[in-house]
Symmetry: C2
Amino acid sequence: MTNICRLLEPIPPGGTIGILGGGQLGRMLALAAARLGLKTHVYSDEADAPAFQVCAVHTQAAYDDSNALRAFATSCDAITFEFENVPSATVALLARTKAANPNARALEVAQERFAEKTFVKELGIGTAEFARADTLEEARKAFGTIGAPSILKTRRMGYDGKGQAEVARIEDLEPALASLNGAPAILESFVEFAFEASVVAARGADGSFAAYDPPENLHANHILRRSTVPGRLNATQAKIACGIARTIAEALDYVGVLCVELFVANDGALLVNEIAPRVHNSGHWTLEACAVSQFEQHIRAVAGWPLGDPSRHADVVMENIIGEEARDWLALASRQGALHLYGKTEIRAGRKMGHMTWLSLKSGAQSVG
Amino acid sequence: MTNICRLLEPIPPGGTIGILGGGQLGRMLALAAARLGLKTHVYSDEADAPAFQVCAVHTQAAYDDSNALRAFATSCDAITFEFENVPSATVALLARTKAANPNARALEVAQERFAEKTFVKELGIGTAEFARADTLEEARKAFGTIGAPSILKTRRMGYDGKGQAEVARIEDLEPALASLNGAPAILESFVEFAFEASVVAARGADGSFAAYDPPENLHANHILRRSTVPGRLNATQAKIACGIARTIAEALDYVGVLCVELFVANDGALLVNEIAPRVHNSGHWTLEACAVSQFEQHIRAVAGWPLGDPSRHADVVMENIIGEEARDWLALASRQGALHLYGKTEIRAGRKMGHMTWLSLKSGAQSVG
């Protein structure tokens, strides 16, 4: 194991937070850092990364360009990531020069579904049933235990429903495996959930913990459509959800914001679907409904500042603006509510282009689509 | 009169708003533009302007550098100002290339106290009594009409109490005039006000108008200390205040956010103290208490977008962090509430370093100092 830098004291205003990744999450992190008087240096391999438009310094280079990474680390006082699929060699290199959070262990766990589910299960937290399914033999064995319906997923790099195939019968396994192009896979039981939810929470460098109220989330075409707070989680479930996030964060010695995506089963049980070691789409509503947003909270954590107050001062609904919906920006701007557009030049199907937030409105009273 | 560019259609996301001035107002304007997917180009004569840290492009050049101004105007789709004391030649030059708002007339009126008070009076709106006092003879004549106590002020460039002298007796006039170093002056009656208030409002490129709830403002050492909404203005006064802002904005064919500072006299009458043709410190609370802040509202107006909803979803108190108070950033960050620091490298006495906002709290429940 190489040396790991730790934050010795809070980074004062005027300091620089390095952000690896330049999408909308990096952009909103940079905006939040600016509110605290902190500068940002954004590193992305994209030429036209949205976060480049709002930072003090930016670097466009490959994520494995060690010279560029070293120069980046040297210029920053602390480093963070806006996405979980950062190569572990990159994290190791950066963490040798400056405190980098979330830590390598958290990223590794979140990058690999089998490791993630095993980790969660070992903490005594519920998940779907799961088993390795790298080969047809393994997959058949897994299907024998888990049964139908189940879902075959790549272990790495899946998002927004990519790298998944439903398995209703044992004959579906072979084509499902083929559709993953030989990538290592996991078979998971299909959870008949009542609804989906998530917890966005933060752990500070001092071990303090703060969770936002857990939203109910609605997905369409595997992409988050809407988050509603409060949703259908009752007070007990909300408390359990926050406890799950805390257990996970502490087990990982986590610093920063993380999101735990949950299935709420018909019997009310909470099952962990995924851990996102970063700010999360289902926490965007905190920008309007809380004094300290998930983005600021993450910056506070990675800068060694005290965590802010996560309490919510309004009921809130957040909806994503996806793909072609962004063409209607003028109509969206004419509506009540808080509009966010991410500065992406190209509209693509399924691409998250922005979001809208409405305060003090009941779920469904307003919608983008 | 030279040619004036007008905005023909709303600037689409991805367009660039030019901001002349790089202080905290320019910085918060840039952050608001980013939320809408607009880029910003900040122009300032300061090497280390706070707004440079959060914009896509910046230019450091003098405000009378016509080559730099022309290049700036060419690179932008629309232009605005974060401060009112922009030389009129600068505005004229910029407005020849791109739509620049607020317009030259609004800036001229706001730059000169005598023109400002005359303009307001001619609209039938109350002000303190006032008269020109450039010479000792004029000042004596003015004092004869206005009486004691009164205040002698420079007509231009005064802010935060600079360029002012109280006049209790006629003998005070000579030293008061001398203290202004021969600058053209105005004598104003001293208003015995119950409290101070302001209206922050916006007029869109389409002539639409939207006012925020008027805060009550408390000054200390001539610098804004606290804004409270709702304050002591009753509903009728609030309505009158918004009407005053609307009358002024329409008379100036104004586009953007403006602030009208008011004295509320003991008998309840509203007197205009000053017009600020820009976003204003007494509107910072809109960042937390409204879906669309004054900064976004201004960007919407100058970009030709529809104005956003100015309604307030919470009671709110805003306090400035002034001078040495900013050294306690870590203590401030540990408190509940929304902390804003402006990225200023040097702490100076009386300098606005940041502010804090508390929602749903009564006035005085929280304070910075």
